[in-house]
């Protein structure tokens, strides 16, 4: 990493090119940490692909049923948790019924954490939402995409009981919900496999349901082709997607707050790329001459 060559022989640019990567690490740490201490609200424009998700929920009449699959674990919390909270806020404000499930073991726990947060809101508290009537949490079932496939025939096949051990038949909300035909929208919050891609391949392509999604920023670009073909109504990509969603919903939350750190970090990385290239070109020019 740090060569101990003669310092005189190396030009400024050369030194810059062989810079110890720990210095870069330090810059990044500072770029992220410092802005966290400031509350700066930035203007966040809403992209069409996020609006697609918003519209998909917005156009549902009150009382419609939304199935939401929590397919992530705490590792992706910073990106997906704000989306989950915003999603619940949106649904409950519109009086939609929410059916929660998870293809990842930790997913339904993430849902409970988000619900806890959302129920602190005054307007949602006032609605006095009831478990089993306004929302249910079916819990986790092992089986990855096979679960999605089986649910196309019957939810009960994959989830005979909800997360708390109550048979589905005893839950008022699940009355008359047999399979995808009886839900109006599926929402997939996903950080990898199994996730949105499997929902597209097994639920949309096979059972023709309407699907919207929130993904980590890494995964989101792979979903664009699906949005373009209409297999997916829209996708929220990473913390920025979450921030846009919070903006269009009119309830700025934690994602909007994190955006400042995010912006500064991006700027620092871009700066590094510029410096790296300047050094590269000035060296190359010298070698030629």
């Amino acid at each position: 990493m740090n060569q101990e060559n003669n310092q005189e022989e190396k030009s400024f640019w050369e030194k810059l090119l062989s810079i110890d990567r720990r210095i870069i690490f330090l810059f990044i740490a500072v770029a992220i940490a410092v802005p966290l201490f400031f509350k700066v609200s930035m203007h966040i424009p809403v992209t069409p692909i996020v609006r697609g998700v918003y519209d998909a929920i917005e156009e549902l009449p009150a009382g419609s049923k939304v199935l939401v699959s929590f397919d992530y674990d705490p590792g992706s919390m910073p990106e997906l948790q704000p989306m989950a909270e915003a999603f619940f806020r949106h649904c409950f404000r519109k009086d939609l019924k929410v059916i929660i499930m998870g293809l990842w073991p930790q997913g339904p726990l993430q849902a409970n954490m988000a619900l806890e947060e959302v129920f602190k809101d005054e307007d949602i508290k006032a609605k006095n939402l009831q478990y089993g009537i306004d929302y249910v949490n079916l819990g986790f079932t092992a089986g990855n995409e096979v679960v999605i496939d089986r649910m196309g025939h019957s939810f009960e096949e994959s989830y005979p009981k909800d997360g708390q051990g109550t048979p589905l038949s005893e839950l008022p909300l699940m009355k008359g919900v047999k399979n995808y035909d009886n839900v109006d929208l599926i929402y997939s919050l996903s950080a990898g496999y199994p996730g949105t891609q499997e929902w597209v391949q097994y639920a949309v392509d096979v059972f023709h349901v309407k699907l919207a999604a929130g993904n980590t920023a890494v995964q989101a670009p792979s979903m664009y082709p699906y949005v373009q073909t209409g297999q997916l109504a829209g996708v929220l990509g990473g913390m920025k997607g979450g921030a846009e969603y919070e903006t269009v919903l009119g309830i700025p939350g934690i994602a909007v707050r994190y955006m400042f750190s995010q912006a500064v970090a991006h700027a620092v990385i871009c700066l590094f790329i510029i410096i790296g290239n300047l050094a590269f070109f000035s060296l190359r020019k010298r070698k030629r001459s």
């Binding site: 009449p61 009382g63 519109k94 008359g176 047999k178 399979n179 035909d181 009886n182 496999y193 792979s222």
Partner: protein, 415 residues
């Protein structure tokens, strides 16, 4: 027309074009898909006024769900005149079923207002059922007329997958054909794949430096074709390592992969005539956990300083941790994956990267076995068919758009 080095295309291009036309013909058959109903109703506040009973839903029809294993019937109806308009006070639809047109209706399910269909997936095959829809509103309930009789039946071929079936046949046939024609000794041209040309040199360099080769077959289990592709590449690399007498280490993150890799490496050493040099400890399990595995590999790279690192298989976020750490110790890296989201890091950090399809081609390429190379040629036929379909479709749609023909949406019907 694309020129190729085997006479197949040239002599039989007409034949292929016919197949293509045939495919298009079949592809033009539309999906037997029920229209997905989306509700256009806005969530208006429900009025609580004294109102007459809601208008009953009309035109209740029932039919067997096509392309399933039976046991399900789909029911559709026209919304009540008071759902979303009129008195706008519908709260629910109830679905009732009976085997007798006039009596014995039992409740089988509910739907939200705005819905116009329901699927009953609890029917006995070949039994006639009748359905009625009860609309429930704040003012009371009304019942529709009974539906037509319907019965569910088993479908022995899923027609909605016909396109897939035909394509699978054509591509499967093409691959099979070229594998066979390779057997008879026809020479095949396969372009150079830089990442694979480098494998020999990389193993050689590890030998010169007297350092290890570390092979990572991705982080997924054997239920991923990418892992299987990675393991077959491991077979070729292990054979080289055995020939060069270079140390090889394979830390894995799945127990099944461990078992498979042991078989693979053992076989490779046997083939190279060095069964004595193999021992089970070359392949070992670390942890199923993605980042636990990455943490362990990071430590391993820094402490062992391998000369070459192979990353071949299905990777997720850990790809960058691995590639960047291996890069910092100056190892030669040959990576390959079919995960588009991880390819950029491999392209940026590694010396050579196999992109998507190249990963699957790698073991055939490295084996230099004509039969396996033949299958690559078969893949190209698949690509050629896809290109033709895209070309034909785009031309048609563009003409349609330029001349304002009112062709139905062709893209919807193709496939």
């Amino acid at each position: 027309m694309i020129k190729t080095h085997t006479p197949f295309f040239e002599s039989k291009s007409t034949f292929f074009f016919l197949i293509f036309l045939l495919a298009i013909l079949f592809l033009l058959t539309p999906f037997p898909v029920e229209a997905q109903e989306t509700s256009e109703v806005e969530g208006e506040p429900v009025e609580e006024a004294e109102a007459p009973l809601p208008a009953p839903p009309a035109n209740v029809t029932a039919k067997d769900i096509p392309n399933d294993k039976g046991g399900a019937i789909t029911i559709s109806w026209e919304k009540s005149a008071d759902d979303g308009e009129g008195a706008n006070n519908v709260t629910e639809y109830e679905i009732l079923r009976s085997t007798n047109r006039d009596e014995g209706y039992e409740h089988i399910g509910n739907t939200a207002p705005g819905a116009t269909s329901f699927s009953d997936s609890d029917t006995k095959n070949k039994v006639r059922y009748f359905y009625k829809i009860k609309v429930i509103s704040l003012a009371g309930t009304s019942l529709s007329l009974p539906s037509n009789p319907a019965f569910s039946k088993v479908q022995w071929f899923d027609l909605s997958r016909l396109t897939l079936f035909i394509l699978a046949l054509i591509i499967g046939f093409a691959i099979f054909y070229f594998i066979n024609s390779a057997k008879t000794g026809k020479e095949l041209f396969i372009r150079k794949i830089a990442g694979l040309e480098a494998v020999d040199d990389a193993v050689g360099r590890a030998t010169e430096m007297g350092r290890k080769i570390i092979f990572i077959p991705g982080i997924m289990d054997m239920d991923s074709m990418q892992t299987i592709a990675g393991v077959t590449i491991l077979g070729r690399v292990a054979k080289l390592a055995a020939e060069y007498e270079t140390k090889l280490e394979v830390p894995v993150s799945r127990s099944l992969v461990m078992v498979t890799c042991r078989e693979t490496v053992k076989e490779a050493y046997l083939n190279a005539g060095r069964p004595d040099a193999y021992n089970d400890n070359m392949v070992y399990y670390l942890t199923d956990d993605q980042f636990g595995y990455a943490a362990a590999l990071d430590g391993l790279f820094i402490r062992e300083k391998p000369a070459v690192v192979f990353l071949q298989g299905q990777f997720y976020a850990e790809s960058l941790i691995l590639a960047e750490t291996a890069n910092s110790i100056g190892a030669i890296q040959i990576a390959g994956t079919a995960m588009p989201s991880q390819l950029p890091f491999f392209v940026a950090c590694c010396d050579y990267t196999l992109i998507g399809e190249e990963l699957f081609a790698a073991s055939a390429y490295l084996s230099k076995d004509p039969k396996l190379l033949g299958s690559l040629k078969g893949q190209d036929v698949g690509k050629f068919i896809f290109l033709l379909v895209i070309f034909a479709g785009v031309v048609l749609l563009t003409l349609n758009s330029v001349f304002g023909w009112n062709l139905p949406n062709l893209a919807e019907k193709l496939f």
